[in-house]
C-alpha cells in the first residue's frame, strides 16, 4: 500500500474532522451516547436488567440475555442469565464507549455491576462489582443512567445518603471502574455559576450530550424515600408528592460546569437529542403530567424549555417511562406506564408534535428500545418493584415487534414470571459483529 505524505495525511484528517461528528451522530441505536460504538445492522442479543421477585426463580436481580438473531434456533428465547444474588432494585444499565462493558446499577443499595459483553456476547460475565459507590462519590446514591464518554462513563445518581431525597449528582468513573469525580446538581445555595436558582431543585435522573454544541442536559426525578416506597403511599402523601423534580440543567459538556437551570414541571425523565447536525434540540417527557417538552437553542443562542404536547388523555395521565427518537428526527415513540400503551408522535415540527399511532402492548410498559433502522422495537414492563401494578392484570415481559411504518406486529413475547426471571427493566443491545471479525491479544 502506498504511503501518503504527511501533508496529504493531514489534509485528509482535517477534511475528515468535518465529517466525524455528523457521521457518529447518525450511527447509534438512536438514543445512546454518540461516543459509543454503534450497531448499524442487526442487533443479535438483548440484555435485560431484571429485578428479583419473591417467589420467582432465584428471587434475585439478574442480567438476562435474549437471542434476537433472525433464523436462530433460539430466536426470541432466553439463552443466558447471570444472577447477582439478592434484590437491590436493579434499574438501568449503560455501555462503555468501546461497548465491551455493560454497567448495571441498583437504586436501593447503589451497587454497580460491570459485565463483560465482548468476550462472548451471548454469555455476559461479571468483570467487576463496585460496592463503594456511596463512599467514593461523597454521598451520592442510586446510580441510574450510565452514559459513555471517551474512556469513561458519566453516571447519574438519583438520591443522597443524608436525607434520601432527590438531591444528587453526576459521577464519573473510568472504563476500568475507578472513581474519578462527583458533580452535584445545582441548588440555590450551590449554583456553581449557573443561572436559574429559582428552579434549581438539585434533582437528577438522565444525562444526554450534544458534543457539537458542547452541551449536556440532566433531568430530575425523585429520591430514595419516594422510589423505594409503595407508589400509592407516595401519591397519597402530599409531602412526598412535593419531592419530585421540576427542572432540566444545562451543562458545559467539556468542563462539567452547570450553565443554566430550566423549569420543566412534572418530573422530566428521559432526554433525547435530535440527531441531525442542524437540529439543536432535545425532547424530554414530564412523567407526572404526560407532557412532551422541547429543550432548544433559541436565536440568541440561549437554551430554553417549552411544553410542546400533551400525550394521551390529560384526565388519565399515561405516566410515560421512556421515549425514543428515530434516526431521522421525524418520529418519537412514547411508552406509558399507566396504560401500557406505546404511542408514535410525528415530530417533524418539534414545536408541534402530533400523535399518529398507538398500540397497547400490555397492562403496563416502561422501557422501549429501537434498532438503529427503526424496524424493530422492544418493550419491557417494569418501572420499580414498589411502583409496578400488582393486581390481577399485572404482568412482566419482554415483547418484540416489527415496525413497517404503519403497524407494530409482535414477533415474540417472553413472560418473565413464568420463566422464573423477575421484573423486566432496562434493555441494551449486543452483537458478535462488534467484536468477532478480528483477532486480538486483548480478548
Amino acid at each position: 500500500m502506498a504511503h501518503s505524505s504527511f501533508s496529504a495525511r493531514v489534509r485528509r484528517g482535517a477534511g475528515m474532522l468535518a465529517l466525524a461528528v455528523s457521521m457518529t451522530a447518525f450511527a447509534d441505536e438512536t438514543c445512546q451516547s454518540p461516543y459509543m460504538t454503534p450497531i448499524k445492522g442487526q442487533e443479535e442479543f438483548v440484555y435485560v436488567w431484571t429485578l428479583g421477585v419473591d417467589g420467582v426463580g432465584d428471587e434475585s436481580d439478574k442480567l438476562v440475555t435474549v437471542d434476537v438473531r433472525p433464523g436462530s434456533e433460539t430466536y426470541g428465547k432466553v439463552i443466558n442469565t447471570y444472577s447477582v444474588g439478592g434484590q437491590h432494585e436493579a434499574h438501568h444499565s449503560g455501555l462503555s464507549d468501546d461497548r465491551r462493558t455493560l454497567w448495571a446499577g441498583t437504586l436501593d443499595d447503589s451497587q454497580l455491576y460491570l459485565f463483560d459483553i465482548a468476550s462472548d456476547p451471548a454469555k455476559p460475565r461479571l468483570r467487576k462489582h463496585i460496592t463503594d459507590f456511596v463512599e467514593a462519590t461523597g454521598g451520592a446514591t442510586g446510580p441510574h443512567t450510565v452514559f459513555a464518554l471517551p474512556g469513561r462513563v458519566l453516571i447519574t445518581a438519583t438520591s443522597n445518603n443524608r436525607d434520601h431525597g432527590g438531591r444528587s449528582a453526576l459521577v464519573e468513573y473510568s472504563n476500568e471502574g475507578d472513581y474519578i469525580a462527583t458533580h452535584w446538581i445545582p441548588t440555590p445555595d450551590n449554583m456553581q455559576g449557573a443561572t436559574g436558582a429559582e428552579f434549581a431543585d438539585g434533582y437528577n435522573y438522565d444525562v444526554r450530550a450534544l458534543p457539537r454544541k458542547n452541551v449536556m442536559l440532566t433531568s430530575s426525578w425523585t429520591g430514595w424515600s419516594n422510589y423505594m416506597r409503595n407508589a400509592s403511599e407516595v401519591m397519597s402523601d402530599p409531602v412526598a408528592m412535593k419531592r419530585f423534580g421540576n427542572s432540566i440543567t444545562v451543562w458545559n459538556l467539556h468542563t462539567r460546569q452547570p450553565l443554566k437551570v430550566l423549569q420543566v414541571p412534572g418530573t422530566p425523565l428521559e432526554i433525547r437529542w435530535a440527531l441531525n447536525p442542524e437540529h439543536n434540540y432535545a425532547f424530554t417527557h414530564a412523567s407526572l403530567t404526560s407532557k412532551l417538552w422541547l429543550v432548544y437553542e433559541d436565536e440568541q443562542g440561549e437554551w430554553q424549555a417549552k411544553e410542546v404536547a400533551t400525550v394521551g388523555d390529560p384526565k388519565k395521565p399515561t405516566f410515560p417511562g421512556s421515549i425514543m427518537i428515530t434516526n431521522d428526527d421525524q418520529y418519537l415513540w412514547w411508552q406509558g406506564i399507566g396504560d401500557g400503551t406505546t404511542r408514535l408522535l410525528d415530530i417533524r415540527d418539534p414545536f408541534n408534535p402530533k400523535e399518529i399511532y398507538a398500540k397497547r402492548i400490555g397492562s403496563q410498559i416502561n422501557m422501549g428500545s429501537t434498532s438503529w433502522d427503526g424496524k424493530r422495537l422492544y418493550f419491557t414492563s417494569s418501572a420499580l418493584s414498589k411502583w409496578d401494578r400488582n393486581d390481577e392484570q399485572a404482568e412482566q415481559f419482554l415483547r418484540a415487534y416489527d415496525w413497517d411504518g404503519k403497524e407494530l406486529v409482535q414477533t415474540f413475547s417472553i413472560d418473565f414470571i413464568a420463566e422464573g426471571l423477575g421484573r423486566a427493566h432496562q434493555m441494551r443491545f449486543g452483537a458478535y459483529s462488534l467484536y468477532s471479525d478480528v483477532t486480538t491479544a486483548q480478548r
Binding site: M1, S5, V10, G13, G151, G165, D178, M235, M241, T255
Partner: protein, 268 residues
C-alpha cells in the same frame, strides 16, 4: 408477586392532579421509608481526589484559530476556569524512538505535559489516525506561535502496528526532520519492538486496536481501533481522554493551558 397495592397508577391520577397544584418544595424531612434506610455515611471529601487548581483564567494560545465550525459550534472554555480530575496514572512501557533507541514512556514523558495519540501509519480510517494526526498538527502549529506551549508541551504519536511501523517508518511519518518542525512543541514518533511489548501498553491505556481478518480468516493490514488521545500531566497522570466528538484542537489546548494554570496555582 409482592402483596402490595393493586393499581397504584389508577390511584395516582387524582392524587397527582391535586399534588401538582400545591407549591412544590424540595426540602424538609423525609417520611419514614418502609425499608431500613441505608447506613448513613459521612460525606467523603470528593475534592481530595482532585488536585488544587488555579482560578486565574488564561489567554488563549497564540496562533490557534478559536473560530466556531459546523462540527464544533461553540466557544471553547477559558483555560484555567475548570478542573481536570485525575483519571488514573499513565502507564509506563518499553518503546523505540524514531532513531531506534530503546526508551520508556515515562522517560519520554518526563518534564512535559504530554498529548499521547495511538496511530498506525497505514491507517485510512476517516475517523481514525489521520484525524488524530491532523489535530496534533494544528496544536503543533499553535505551539509555534506560543512559546509557553512550545516549552511545556510534548506531542507523542505511538504506533500500534510494530510489524510495519518500524523506527525508520516512524521517522518518516511526518516527512522526516526539517525546519517545518522548528520552534514548536517537541513531537515524538514512537513504536515498539514487538507485539509482546506493545500489548501491555494498549491494555494499560485501554486502547482498543485489533488487526482485522479477511473472509478467509487471514490477517490484513487494517486495524479496527477506537480513536483516542490522552492528556498526561507532569506527574504522569492521565487527566483527560479524547475521542471522536472531542477532537477539537481548541479543547485540547485549553486543557493543556488549564494544567499550566493549575501548576502556577500550586506553585503559589
Amino acid at each position: 408477586m409482592n402483596r402490595t397495592d393493586r393499581t397504584p397508577w389508577a390511584v395516582a391520577g387524582v392524587a397527582l392532579l391535586v399534588a401538582l397544584g400545591l407549591k412544590l418544595q424540595t426540602t424538609g424531612p423525609s417520611p419514614a421509608p418502609r425499608r431500613a434506610a441505608p447506613a448513613i455515611v459521612e460525606e467523603s471529601n470528593a475534592a481530595a481526589h482532585e488536585p488544587a487548581h488555579a482560578h486565574a483564567a488564561m489567554m488563549p494560545a497564540a496562533g490557534l484559530d478559536l473560530s466556531r465550525t459546523a462540527e464544533f459550534d461553540f466557544d471553547p472554555p477559558v483555560a484555567g476556569t475548570y478542573r481536570l480530575p485525575v483519571i488514573r496514572p499513565a502507564a509506563d512501557g518499553a518503546v523505540l524512538d524514531s532513531a531506534g533507541s530503546a526508551r520508556t514512556l515515562h522517560e519520554l514523558y518526563a518534564g512535559r505535559i504530554v498529548l499521547l495519540s495511538f496511530i498506525y501509519t497505514r491507517c485510512t480510517d476517516a475517523n481514525g489516525c489521520p484525524l488524530a494526526t491532523a489535530v496534533l498538527y494544528r496544536i503543533f502549529g499553535a505551539s509555534q506561535a506560543d512559546a509557553e506551549l512550545a516549552a511545556n508541551l510534548r506531542l507523542v504519536s505511538l504506533s500500534f502496528d510494530p510489524e510495519h511501523d518500524t523506527p525508520e517508518v516512524m521517522a518518516g511519518y511526518r516527512d522526516g526532520a526539517g525546519p517545518q518542525w522548528a520552534d514548536g512543541a517537541e513531537w515524538l514518533d514512537l513504536t515498539t519492538a514487538s507485539e509482546a511489548e506493545l500489548q501491555p501498553i494498549l491494555n494499560d491505556y485501554d486502547q482498543l486496536a485489533r488487526r482485522r481478518v479477511d473472509d478467509a480468516g487471514r490477517p490484513t493490514d487494517v486495524f479496527g481501533h477506537q480513536l483516542r488521545a490522552y492528556l498526561i500531566d507532569r506527574q504522569q497522570r492521565i487527566r483527560n481522554i479524547y475521542g471522536l466528538g472531542f477532537m477539537d484542537p481548541r479543547l485540547l489546548v485549553a486543557d493543556v493551558q488549564t494544567l499550566l494554570a493549575e501548576e502556577r496555582g500550586a506553585a503559589h
